[in-house]
């Protein structure tokens, strides 16, 4: 039983922290709010040059596990990093890794790994439904082409990536049956991209409208109609990665609040001397430490192929959805008026955590999944 990071994991954390602190300072993050692309391409290339992907070395990746991915995402949450790492590596990358399709992996993963290619996953539609039932976009055949018709919403970096991996289904199919994954160039004819500005202006999303978009049949990723399982695995990785990013935003917010409570004076004493503030900070620390345990247990369970990996992923996301909004929100409260100003950085963390909260399963979705897993465990015991 060892819950501590290995030396290599600590080195990775330090490497990423140092890189992001130096190369993606908060001023740059702020500049990216109004930037159409939303990130610095040079910094993104350098970041990918660190070899920080889970892809096998044969595909140019760093062979990292889910624990390492969580470490990287936690560091990104502390910035909060604005680039398409989550979209390209966690979303598109996981979908490719789990697709069972060697050709597709060889075609895309090396370029994603070195940062030359950015990609994303288009999953949800008008309904915010993370189950296969929510996939309605039609995938049909026309000669040697696949034809896509439908809508995808809240596609991370949908406005700028090179390739969008789109989840669609065969007309007439339902549930997990008939779900396919198709690679579509963002500039494909018939694909309309509508960027949406979110509350978290450092996270870029777009609505994608598919109107008879034709792509060659070779753009199919994995078996036709057989993508549901890969998407399930991808969503699990995304939930843990999002939880890790929320953890980083939370811990950073707590650190800032703790520092502030030691220097800010009111009524002739440091505000951290008042129990009203001290106890709030103590509660925030408890939430952050428990959240750390939840995130890294879930990441370990994926790497170890543990029987409770699905349960742990949902526990982690449900937990961080609640803890991060509390911690990042209370950080603003501890700071008072200064915490409510645009110039102070706290709102960046608060909004990043809020942005991630509904994605890859909101709290009620994951609590329901936790219950289903618990009932299954109970029935089996």
């Amino acid at each position: 039983m060892d819950f501590d990071f290995t030396e290599d994991q600590v080195m990775l954390r330090n490497l990423v922290r140092e890189f992001l602190t130096e190369q993606a300072p908060v001023k740059q993050v702020r500049d990216m709010m109004d930037d159409a692309l939303g990130y610095d391409t040079t910094v993104y290339s350098q970041l990918m040059g660190l070899g920080v992907t889970p892809f096998p070395e044969s595909y140019g990746g760093g062979g990292l596990g889910m624990i390492e991915q969580a470490i990287i995402l936690e560091e990104m949450g502390r910035i909060p990093y604005p680039g398409p790492y989550f979209a390209s590596v966690i979303l598109a990358g996981s979908a490719l890794m789990h697709s069972g399709d060697d050709n597709a992996r060889a075609r895309y993963l090396p370029d994603i790994a070195n940062g030359d290619l950015t990609a994303t996953l288009a999953l949800i539609e008008d309904a915010v439904d993370w189950t296969p039932a929510g996939i309605g976009l039609a995938v049909t055949h026309d000669g040697g082409d696949l034809v896509l018709n439908g809508i995808k919403r809240f596609v991370p970096f949908g406005q700028s990536v090179d390739v969008v991996f789109v989840a669609g289904r065969a007309p007439g199919s339902s549930g997990a049956d008939g779900v396919s994954l198709v690679a579509v160039p963002r500039d494909a004819a018939g694909l309309t991209v509508e960027p949406t500005t979110m509350l978290d202006m450092t996270s870029k999303v777009a609505t994608l409208r598919f109107d008879n978009v034709h792509v060659p049949a070779e753009n199919l990723v994995g078996a036709e109609g057989g993508a549901a399982a890969a998407l399930e695995e991808t969503l699990r990785a995304a939930a843990i990665a999002a939880a890790a990013e929320m953890l980083g935003a939370s811990r950073k917010s707590l650190e800032m609040s703790n520092d502030y409570a030691k220097v800010r004076k009111q009524f002739g004493q440091f505000i951290g001397q008042f129990q009203a503030v001290k106890h709030k900070l103590a509660e925030m620390l408890e939430l952050v430490e428990n959240s750390h345990a939840a995130v890294y247990y879930a990441a370990w369970a994926v790497d170890a192929g543990a029987a409770d990996a699905a349960l742990a992923a949902s526990v982690a996301k449900a937990t961080l959805n609640e803890s991060s909004k509390r911690v990042c929100g209370e950080a603003i409260q501890v700071h008072g008026g200064i915490g409510y100003t645009w110039e102070y950085d706290l709102h960046l963390y608060w909004k990043r955590a809020k942005y991630l909260e509904p994605l890859y399963g909101d709290t009620s979705y994951h609590r329901e999944r936790v219950l289903e897993e618990s009932l299954a465990q109970h029935a089996a015991s």
Binding site: F270, Q273, Q275, K278, E286, E368
Partner: protein
């Protein structure tokens, strides 16, 4: 990171589980003698004082082994041994600070359950602010004369001995005039009055002392160093409760999952009610997080790291979580959750299947009431938050009237938080 149990741990668990399957009492233990006999059996199996030094009859077992025994006991709702405080606090205190004579006289009997001990710390006016205690031990020749009152003494009514903090120098500042003294509870002048709690039962007592004469040899350590002795983080049993807490909640939740499949609410079975499903999912997730956090603590203990003030995070987490979980359970069960007797078989908390534990007639209300104690005893949640704030987060100490007063006539003394 590797959160798998080692093959050694798994083998140990199998042995422990087999032992309890074979030896678990089939009837509730009613009398003290039955409980002592069970304690003796646990002791002989090596499950009492597992973390104690071998030189004093312990096993020097690893924290993980202690945790596994605790977890397995909770899993089958096995009754605890007698005099838990003797094992967790009194014994280690005597081993660390006692004289050779005191060790010879007391330590073995604590382990075997031959003598039961209680802690005599809190007073009616000294709860969280324990160091303000007023119970007096006046020196008279080679004796102490004890006068005063103690309260919240767990198991005092069945105790043979008590470990007391008493004021031996009333002119010294409050932390400096306290001594640690062993009291024979059978002495004349000691009066134990069971305290009826909101649960209706009496696990705790009040103890009154009127001119109780105690040999000076019963002093532990130096005179007027009792506060320092009580503050030393002692104890060999650090692993013991980490997983048993989780296990207890898991057993309860598992039974709850059965009950909600029978329970009917507005609109049909409780298990099909979307609001109840959300509550169940929330509890299940919270219990899992407690398990993960406990494994993290165990991982540190296994490496020989002593839990410092971080232990306050665990205490706060567990006790507040327990309160939340019990509240939600009673919300789900409605009036059935409040029944103390005549509970329909399919809705009972014990499923009619735990004859060995405390006899609570299968009521969900007892753990509900008991959960209110956890955030008060052993340092209230407010005290824990002070400790976390000041000693983990490094926040400046609060302005306190007693510190201001202490600073007036002479230089201030370092002050710590109370709580037992």
């Amino acid at each position: 990171m590797d959160l798998n149990y080692t093959a050694e741990d798994q083998a140990f668990r199998a042995t422990v589980r087999a032992w309890f399957e074979e030896n678990l009492p089939t009837e509730p233990l009613h009398t003290l003698e039955e409980r002592r006999a069970w304690h003796r059996k646990l002791y002989e199996a090596g499950f009492i004082g597992m973390g104690w030094p071998k030189a004093y009859g312990g096993q020097e077992a690893r924290p993980m082994e202690q945790a596994i025994v605790g977890e397995e006991m909770a899993r089958v709702n096995a009754p605890a041994g007698v005099g838990g405080l003797g094992i967790s606090i009194v014994g280690p205190t005597i081993i660390h600070h006692g004289t050779e004579e005191q060790k010879k006289r007391f330590v073995k009997n604590i382990l075997t359950g031959e003598e039961i001990w209680c802690q005599l710390y809190s007073e009616p006016n000294s709860g969280s602010d324990l160091a303000s205690l007023q119970c007096r031990a006046d020196i008279d020749g080679d004796e102490f004369v004890i006068n005063g009152q103690k309260i919240w003494n767990s198991g005092a009514h069945i105790s043979d001995w008590g470990l007391m903090l008493a004021r031996t120098d009333r002119s010294a500042s409050k932390h400096q005039g306290i001594s640690c003294i062993l009291i024979d509870m059978k002495e004349p002048g000691v009066e134990v009055r069971p305290l009826k709690q909101i649960s209706g039962s009496s696990e705790f007592s009040e103890v009154f002392f009127s001119d109780v004469r105690v040999p000076a040899d019963n002093l532990i350590g130096e005179l007027n160093t009792g506060w320092q002795i009580a503050q030393t983080t002692l104890g060999y049993e650090r692993g013991g409760s980490t997983l048993s807490r989780v296990s207890r909640l898991q057993v309860q939740f598992s039974r709850l999952l059965e009950v909600v499949q029978s329970l009917e609410v507005t609109g049909g079975k409780a298990i099909n009610d979307p609001v109840i499903r959300q509550e169940l999912g929330a509890i299940a997730a919270d219990i899992e997080v407690l398990r993960y956090a406990s494994l993290r603590i165990l991982s540190r203990l296994e490496k020989g790291q002593r839990p410092g003030p971080e232990a306050s995070i665990a205490k706060l987490h567990y006790s507040e979580l327990d309160k939340r979980v019990q509240e939600i359970i009673l919300d789900i069960l409605g009036p059935y959750g409040q029944e103390l007797d005549n509970i329909p078989e399919e809705l009972r908390a014990d499923g009619g299947g735990s004859p060995s534990g405390e006899d609570t007639a299968g009521s969900w209300a007892y753990p509900y009431v008991w959960s209110r104690a956890g955030t008060i005893y052993a340092g209230s949640s407010e005290i824990q938050k002070n400790i976390i704030g000041e000693r983990v987060l490094g926040l400046p100490k609060e302005v306190r009237a007693d510190r201001i007063a202490a600073a007036q006539p002479k230089a201030g003394t370092p002050a710590g938080e109370g709580g037992q």
